[in-house]
């Protein structure tokens, strides 16, 4: 049996992603990316049993089927074709965890383009669903490459608006906006500060605050007395390794 001391960084990040969904109850848990995907399923398999989640194609599986195993049997509890996802977005019963090529201190996210959007240096994914997600329901982010190139002073394009943009917009447009947490390969970050600036919620075991500060191009709030990200429990490690991600697909996101 595994012991918590043997948990590796990918497993710590899976648990940190799972924790983003704590308290969500009966909503659509919609992680994007392998580590968030395993995390969402872990949350549901443990402390948030009422979550529903997609197979990323068109159904909601009720069982804890693994990632990286294409023919794993699914117990289908409902049908969610692509169009229905938007209906759910607008209903608010959803918490998405997206990636971010860039994020700033207010939680503005860019997945659209690097450089001037008119003729970008690098065209990325585009706006995708980020603008609608942020103004309709809770959003979190997964960023496996924490550096000054990704945690930036100012994002090139605002795909998902952060707290400064929402403050400017004001009520009632901002009433469904929440950036719950950002999980990186170095730590966990949130916006639970007086002015909703990003702070360090915890740093992963083996990471120092200096390392995080150095890899971040803006000033992080509350960098004293920083907590350590919790380790996976024995049960969580078992679920991650044997049930939810037996092929270790999650490890590919760490480069």
């Amino acid at each position: 049996m595994s012991t918590p001391a043997e948990a590796t960084i990918d497993e710590i990040c899976v648990v940190a992603c799972a924790e983003a969904f704590r308290g969500d109850g009966e909503i659509l848990c919609n992680p994007i990316g392998t580590v968030p995907f395993v995390g969402g399923r872990l949350a549901r398999a443990t402390f948030e049993p009422d979550l529903v989640y997609t197979d990323t194609v068109s159904v909601l599986p009720a069982n804890n089927f693994p990632v990286g195993v294409p023919d794993a049997p699914k117990v289908v509890e409902s049908w969610v074709p692509y169009r229905t996802v938007f209906d759910i977005v607008w209903s608010g019963k959803r918490h998405v965890m997206m990636g971010a090529s860039q994020i700033d201190q207010w939680g503005n996210q860019n997945i659209a383009a690097i450089g001037d959007f008119r003729q970008p240096k690098a065209q990325l994914l585009g706006l995708r669903g980020a603008p609608g997600n942020l103004v309709n329901h809770t959003t979190s982010y997964w960023m496996p490459n924490h550096s000054t190139r990704s945690f930036v002073a100012s994002v090139d394009v605002v795909s998902g608006p952060g707290y400064d943009r929402m403050r400017e917009l004001g009520a009632p447009s901002n009433r469904y906006h929440e950036v719950r947490r950002v999980v990186s390969n170095l730590g966990v970050f949130d916006f639970q500060t007086d002015d909703n600036r990003m702070r360090i919620a915890s740093i992963h075991p083996g990471v120092t605050v200096d390392q995080v500060v150095e890899a971040t191009a803006f000033e992080l709030a509350e960098i004293d007395d920083v907590a350590e990200t919790r380790l996976p429990t024995d049960e969580e490690l078992h679920l991650i390794r044997e049930v939810l991600d037996p092929t270790g697909a999650r490890k590919a996101e760490f480069r």
Binding site: Q123, P131, S159
Partner: protein, 284 residues
């Protein structure tokens, strides 16, 4: 019932330079590729394409057919970024309208319902309104007075969609897990051309799927093209999955002009869908 059967080239002969054309499917899924290839080998130019984009937009970019792309994303699914589309954006070769994916749905819906716009919260606070200065907001006429983004109707001159089955009159059936937005494309367009894996007699439409798979009504279609394997290399379940090896070969041509020319002469210059299928068969 009227017989709307026609060939790919007959469809293309009804299209004109500068038209706005909607293309159904989603990413690299159930795209009307035999019709897209027919555009590629035609003289058509300056097109505006409206799509949940995949290799349709990529190929049209690579062949210089596009003036503007209207999209929420352009992706090959297993290859997240469409390489030819990226190149076109980064070289400034095309104009673009990039929208939130859900807002995009509302643009189709508004055109289908013949209203000027549908309101949504999506876009407030993000750069969507900066990237698209022509977008306007509306204020709710009710007591709440909320300001919302008015997504304008995507009026389409023509739409191209691909169905698993259809009859000769243009009733279309999807047998896979998702219709995507193909019914809205059909309703939003002045003319809709439907390609299908197989044309079946109307009385056989329920042989392979239940009644709720009959989602394209003939009142919204103007032409039916029988094109077995017509969505290749995108997926068309349950008839076939994506040809990932072919898609990788296609994607690699974006980095290498010689590879693109070879790909083009082998597959895209094929004078018909039948010849394309023969070229596929000859593939080692």
């Amino acid at each position: 019932m009227v017989d709307k059967r026609m060939t790919e080239d007959e469809v293309i002969s009804e299209l004109k330079d500068g038209m706005t054309i909607g293309i159904g499917g989603w990413g690299s899924r159930r795209k009307p590729m035999s019709l897209v290839r027919a555009i590629l080998r035609s003289d058509l130019k300056d097109l505006t394409v409206v799509a949940y984009g995949g290799p349709d937009i990529g190929l049209l970019c690579a062949a210089g057919k596009l003036r503007r792309a209207v999209y929420g994303f352009v992706s090959l699914d297993t290859i997240p970024l469409e390489p030819h589309f990226r190149q076109a954006r980064q070289s400034g070769a095309i104009e673009f309208t990039e929208l939130d994916e859900g807002a995009f749905y509302l643009g189709l819906l508004a055109a289908a319902h013949r209203v000027p716009f549908y309101p949504t919260r999506a876009g407030l606070g993000s750069d969507m309104l900066i990237m698209n200065p022509e977008l306007r907001t509306v204020t709710s006429p009710y007591d709440d007075g909320e300001e919302l983004v008015a997504i304008p109707a995507f009026k389409l001159d023509a739409a191209l969609i691909h169905m698993n089955r259809a009859d000769a009159a243009g009733n279309g059936q999807f047998l896979g897990p998702d219709l995507y937005f193909d019914d809205l494309f059909a309703m939003a367009a002045d003319k809709t051309y439907l390609s299908t894996e197989k044309i079946v007699p109307t009385e056989n439409l329920l042989d392979e799927g239940p009644v709720h798979t009959l989602r394209i009504q003939r009142i919204f279609t103007d032409g039916v093209v029988e094109a077995p394997h017509g969505a290749h290399f995108t997926e068309c379940p349950p008839d076939y999955g994506r040809d990932e090896a072919f898609q990788r070969e296609y994607a690699a041509t974006a980095r290498d002009p010689e590879a693109w020319e070879a790909f083009r002469s082998t597959y895209l210059d094929a004078s018909s869908h039948e010849d394309y299928l023969k070229a596929l068969e000859a593939r080692s």
